[in-house]
Amino acid sequence: MRTALLPGIAMSALASPVAAQDHSMHGSHGEPAQDQTECEKEAARHRAMGHAVPAGECAPPESPEKDRAEMDHAQMDHSEMDHSQMDHGAMNHSEMDHGAMHGSEAEIPILPPPPSAGSGPPTAADAIWGVDAMRDSRGALARDGGGMMTSGLILDRFEYRFRGGEDGFLWDGDAWYGGDLNRVWLESEGEGDFEGGVEDADVALLYGRAISPWFDLQAGVRQDLTGPKRTYLDLGIQGLAPYLFEVEADVYVSNKGDVTATAEVELDQRITQRLVIQPRAEVSLSAQDVPELGIGAGLDTIEAGVRLRYEIAREFAPYIGIEQEWKTGGSADYARDAGEDPSATNYVLGVHFWF
């Protein structure tokens, strides 16, 4: 009803120049006063404006509902008001505690829709355009509404390793395809040196499923690409732990029945918006000696390192770092027997890359 637009008169406040409106009151009420007193003052101001404010308007509220009614400006006769003289600051509705006025929530029951609301899938458009005409767009909308698949590749570490004469290289990367909760992963890690070639490399094909907001359970097969080329069942967990530690842990059972495990943890710490320092640690464990692989029972190897990367783009970040590796226990003995040093320090130069 256009005629009901009478509050449009309120709009006429705008007819007077803004500059003429008195905002000088702002901030002039120095002390926090009793609410009721302030209400009285407010009422007095309204009355001064020719505004009907019933007596008792400022009585203490007895209930939120009552309070609401009392604060109800609709009860006031705005039509009497000469807004041109009005202090808009004083009228500022934001000053009132509307929180108190929010109504009647308790009275409205949470209920399912009544039977007349119908049931089943939404079909209104089918009646207009036809089921067949709607089918494709309904499918597309579902895909666009959370059914999206992504694929990606991340080379977490791809680096040159300086270690006094026997420089080497390392890669550690994953590729995946899938949705938010279920993904297929192809993971590979390997290292070697520039004389002997690839020494140690594997590839794993895993199915991953979200088991919490931050963690995926992964299961699949890992294949060693070097040495005796063992094949393993791989059961792992991967995700983001409290305090933003990125963790990954896997247990492997080889086709020879050997049980081994690895766990790694990384933490990205931002120095600036693009400079990131990343401590990283990894341990390998074995349930038994595996002489063919130079692995001793118990704690096999420990790696601890720190990498400093600069994100030229989020997807492309060159880094430098240092990493220390130790073989321990039986594994150290195997290494010494083979004429190798059970500990090694690598100065690394690499790139962290994904798309």
């Binding site: 637009l5 509050p7 709009m11 901030g27 509705h93 505690d97 609301a117 458009a125 979200a210 931050w214």
Partner: protein
Amino acid sequence: MPSVALSRRKLLGAGALATGALAMPAWARGADLAHGGMIRAGFDEVSGASIDLIVGEGMQVVQGQYGHAVAVNGSVPGPMLRLKEGTTVSLNVHNTLNEDTSVHWHGLLLPFHLDGVPGVSFPGIGPGETFTAEFPVRQSGTYWWHSHSALQEQTGHYGPIVIDPAGPDPVQADRDYVLLLSEFTPMHPHRIMDRLKKGEGYFNYQQTSFTDDYPLDADERRMWGRMRMMATDILDVTGSTYTYLANGHGPEEGLEFAFNPGERVRIRVINGSAMSFFNVRIPGAVMHVVAADGLNVRPVPVEEFQIGTAETYDIVVEPVGEAMTIVAEAMDRSGMALATLASRPGARAAVPPLRDPPLLTMADMGMNHGAHGGGGIDHSSMDHSAMGHAMPAKTTAPEPMDGMDMSGMDMRDTSKLPPTVKVGPGIDMVATNPVDRMGDPGIGLDKVPHRVLTYNDLTALKRNDDPRTPSRKLEIHLTGNMERYMWSFDGQKYSSVTDNPIRFAYNERVRVKLVNNTMMAHPIHLHGHFFELVNGAPEGFQPQKHTAIVQPGGYAEFDVTADEPGDWAFHCHLLYHMHSGMFQVVTVASPEAA
């Protein structure tokens, strides 16, 4: 009443940069789009009983950056539809793309099958097809239109709608402008989606670091780390890739709105962005908010307001001096759109620098303890000395962490969720104690030293026509997982609930409570209806909106009368949230079923 002659028919859409050229652009005449099909910045005005909209594509240049644009009638934004209440209009959408398109008339009341949402209201508009939406115009005010197909909206497929009232306009102004805020990015929107899925904080270059200036102590930083959340996660896509646009113009491109001293200027502010909330202010001026989402409200004088994606606010200002700057700062303060109210061409006022980026607070985590929470009605603490300033929201903890020891807090106590919410990995947070946050001015504006609009300030100008108390309440939980970039209602992405719409009986009046269990603000839009914010406005004068921001960790409530039969989209209007699953269909039964 003002004696100034009305000139609202001279609604000056694109400001001083408007070319006014309505000639058919080259690309629409069959020119090679891939080579030289340039998209203009700014928009034309189109009106009449039958309006043609030609969806095409081309290259857009903003401040020297090039990007691919899907544009309507060759400009970004597309043309302003100037309609008249009480008339019937035919909107003819011609698709010259090689893919489907659509146009949703945002905020317009019309038959559901013309609402323009592929897969809900119609099949979409195929390549080479024309779709005509013919309907009576039942309302007046400021609205907008945009694509509802894929991610086209990001690339320029949007424009304003201004509907003149059938009778006199209660808002009187000497000049009447549209300010449509949006974003430009050279990135393809699919790439943005992909990066959001893969990299937490990919676009955020204001993260906490060893060298930041954020007022966070070591305990607070550890607490955020423990939660696996970021206190700086204010907007998902930021000024690191976006250039914020005012009517298609970048901040360096100098959009001007002319005025003569003493004139009252109406500005229809439309947030037509894909992913951005803006803090709008005109330093030195009081802005009188006279309409929200197209419908008139009692004037509210403010010095700043936050506008969520897809909302509109009409303001009236009386500029003084030679020029005044209109600042639309992205909520995370990573960039701004700019325009100038200029009393002569080229006049400029100072542009304030970007303010420090805000941080999320306790309240944004849904942590509202007895002392502050539960609506926080402590009258003795009411401070009228704050007169002239927005009342500090009682539901907002004033300090970022308020010195709370969070070590014992379970941030994901799913037992607090009702059985209607499906608990799974898609939910990474449950608001511990969500409170009504409609009195909140928005992230980062709780402590600014001037008056800021809140939803609680809004009161309908006209009495609402349905006085009934809602017969039932419906609680819908906004849920998400920041790390996986999953967004949903009640823990289920749209792809999981396509056969289970939200159902309303015809003419049923329902109170809908939207509880935000995430740390992001979500602008929730219901198609085809206006709903009334339950904001404590006087009986019968709850303000009506089509889009409501639900603040992080809090709730908002609205009353809706389901009197528009059919299937309607209901979704978060952050484009990539919708695209990640924060979407549902609301089915309103036909009158015959009642």
